[in-house]
Symmetry: C2
Subunit: 193 residues, 2 copies
């Protein structure tokens, strides 16, 4: 069954080209070429260009949730846990980098993407607030606005991701893990009671 492989290759090519050039500039012709597939095959699979984008969005709505992986491996040591979460968060963003880029490029034109991409920080926020509240009960973090704290850690990771994904090492050549480690060290020290 070559069909599955073909559709997947088209989606991969579209993912790459749309994330690089944007939806309009990534033509069906170039997508088909990159996929090593005839242009008509693209239309036979997805109907039209928008159907291809829809397929991309659907693929990532079923993406393995970061949420669950955060809940596991909790040691209830603030810095250790936050570093683990941050690393996972960063790696997760990197693994779906192309999709994130498309989402930020085309969110105004295709509102369906906005909902999809907003869902990620919302879920992580929920988990983090839950974690902070539990840690507060244990007397391990001081009293702050936990929602704001959660959003800050998310913003921190996302900012690092954007910088690395878009500008590479232009801004700094500190290794990512080192950067996140310092980043989380400061943040968690600001949270401990």
């Amino acid at each position: 069954m070559t069909m599955k492989g073909t559709a997947e290759r088209i989606i991969e090519a579209a993912l790459q080209l749309i994330s690089e050039k944007g939806y309009t500039a990534a033509t069906t012709k170039t997508i088909a070429e990159l996929a090593g597939v005839n242009e008509v095959t693209l239309f036979r699979h997805f109907g039209n260009k928008r159907g291809l984008l829809k397929a991309i969005i659907e693929q990532f709505s079923y993406y393995p949730l970061l949420q669950q992986e955060i809940n596991q491996n909790m040691t209830w040591e603030l810095e250790k846990d936050l570093l683990n979460i941050s690393l996972k968060h960063f790696q997760f963003l990197m693994s779906i980098k192309d999709f994130v880029m498309i989402a930020f490029k085309e969110s105004i034109q295709f509102p369906e993407i906005s909902e999809e991409i907003a869902n990620m920080p919302l879920l992580i926020k929920k988990e983090l607030i839950h974690y902070f509240e539990e840690m507060y009960q244990q007397g391990k973090v001081r009293e702050v606005d936990f929602e704001a704290a959660a959003l800050s850690l998310i913003a921190l990771n996302f900012g690092h991701f954007m910088s690395r994904a878009r500008l590479g090492t232009i801004v700094s050549d500190i290794p990512t893990e080192e950067l996140l480690q310092t980043s989380v060290a400061i943040f968690s020290r600001g949270l401990v009671s």
Copy 2:
């Protein structure tokens, strides 16, 4: 002299449309329409579509520097200064929001933009490192990797900006100033000696 007003209106329209739809999808026709100008006038002013983008980039390369404003009003009280810097940084990003969006959308296709947009964090990083080093001399911050610390604060602000600029209040409806305040409070507490 109506010329200046016309060129400005075209640039404004282009800024809005390109940031919303991307370079390719923002057609010269729609840009001219939004500017309330005939399409040929656009070409008479900027030669071709790329010349229009070039004009946009040039406009922001002469943008008043955030750098200077940071250097002023230093109180050498960590949290107060960092909050001031963060607020200014955020407001600055918001004021050139459309340009930032274009930069992140088209940086792969037009590398000139990448350099322009990377310059901003580089300058702020330099100032922050300088500030942290001085504060360390004064015994007011503990010893950390100051570059990583600077990058973290920048990532923090940029992350908040991206969230608000792109997703609005979907993720959270905490007022921006309140969010930044908590954000900086945690961060600066993690830095003090």
